[in-house]
Subunit: 229 residues, 2 copies
């Protein structure tokens, strides 16, 4: 049994420079990455863009939608990257293509490196119940791949005291989630933050920090918030 190795990024457009800088030590000896473009409608275009970025560092990219057997593609992958877009569309496609349990097995048993950005970060957690996305399609369940025992809210936004917008703040939305029974902790991952998971250890990287919300807790923990310095 190998240790799990995850790199979970807040931003959806995180296949740029700084994301790749973090990927390199993370995926180490990996030469080919299996890319999952299910979160966007145009899978070919999305894969081309990611392929171009990864090629600058010498990685080959295979689009999972290009494989005749997606489960077999996961079974033989050296590393996997699930990109951002719409989380509902992504999770539904993961179930439609029956790859959820194989991805879980490869990451938790074989230690296959997993990289996710935005929606790809959401689906790595317990459930997609703390996504910011519109429910444009309905997956068979909100339970996700379950690679970590908590949820993440990507693109976490702090409450803006100057805002006159009447929609709920992100904090209020997460509090509503925690009004429901048996809900796991939620990590509000600000843009610019990444969570590196190695075995049972999670390390926050990047400069913007995160907030951890737990059900029924009196106080939330704000990790590495530069504004606290």
């Amino acid at each position: 049994m190998m240790e799990r190795r995850l790199l979970l990024v807040s931003n959806s457009t995180a296949y740029g420079g700084s994301f790749l800088d973090h990927c390199q030590p993370h995926i180490g000896q990996v030469k080919r990455v299996l890319f999952v473009p299910y979160a966007l409608h145009d899978r070919d275009k999305y894969t081309q863009a990611v392929r171009a970025k990864f090629s600058t560092l010498g990685y080959e990219v295979d689009g999972i939608h290009e494989a005749s057997d997606p489960v077999a593609a996961v079974r033989k992958a050296e590393g996997i990257f699930i990109g951002g877009g719409n989380t509902f569309r992504l999770l539904k496609s993961l179930y439609d293509n029956e790859v959820v349990s194989e991805i879980r097995r490869r990451v938790l048993e074989d230690g296959m490196p997993y990289m996710g950005s935005s929606a790809g970060t959401n689906v790595a957690t317990v459930s997609i119940c703390t996504t910011n996305d519109m429910p444009i399609v309905r997956p068979p369940t909100f339970a996700a791949i379950g690679l970590v025992p908590f949820n993440i809210n990507p693109h976490y936004l702090d409450p803006d005291p100057k805002s006159r917008h009447m929609g709920e703040t992100r904090e209020q939305r997460i509090a509503q989630y925690h009004e429901e029974a048996d809900t796991p902790p939620v990590l509000g991952l600000r843009e610019g933050s990444l969570l590196l998971v190695e075995g049972d250890k999670a390390t926050l990287q990047g400069s913007t920090g995160a907030r951890l919300f737990t059900r029924g807790a009196g106080k939330d923990v704000d990790e590495h918030n530069p504004r606290n310095n």
Copy 2:
């Protein structure tokens, strides 16, 4: 068969003054309003707040959760108001309490006046697929009460060219919805706007306007946008 009469409001905190001003001509001779507080966790507190507001205009308010038989409560209601909160929680409770088809029948056949704010506006439409809320619970379907043949995005926010936030704009999220097959038009209802539906006629009220998005259309229509004047 009576004409349908709906008052659909963008804001969730719309049981204040201006909302009630619009309610009065809408519900006319109605003396008692059935309030549906399912979108918030604390139904008693929510009902008390709404009851206090409506009492200033001389309306009695019954909370649907106070009735031993919610379907019977809908059957005998003079008018109904579904309040805002979390749209997923609201729709799930409407189905759990088996009131969806009875509300539809009373509005479409009996002309029972319907008032909705935010989540209560979402559930009046074709589906909740264009809500802004977090999917904190999973309803048995995303199909909603279906009182109008389109969807609404409440709290509609125009793209902010100055924003550095990397999450999708509301416009992009609605465009992603329209990438899916057989999706109805979406009315982006800005805060401060209300849609009055009388029979087959819909009238936009308030000062902020709305944007209408249709699948595959080359151009969106911006109705009553004060910035166009």
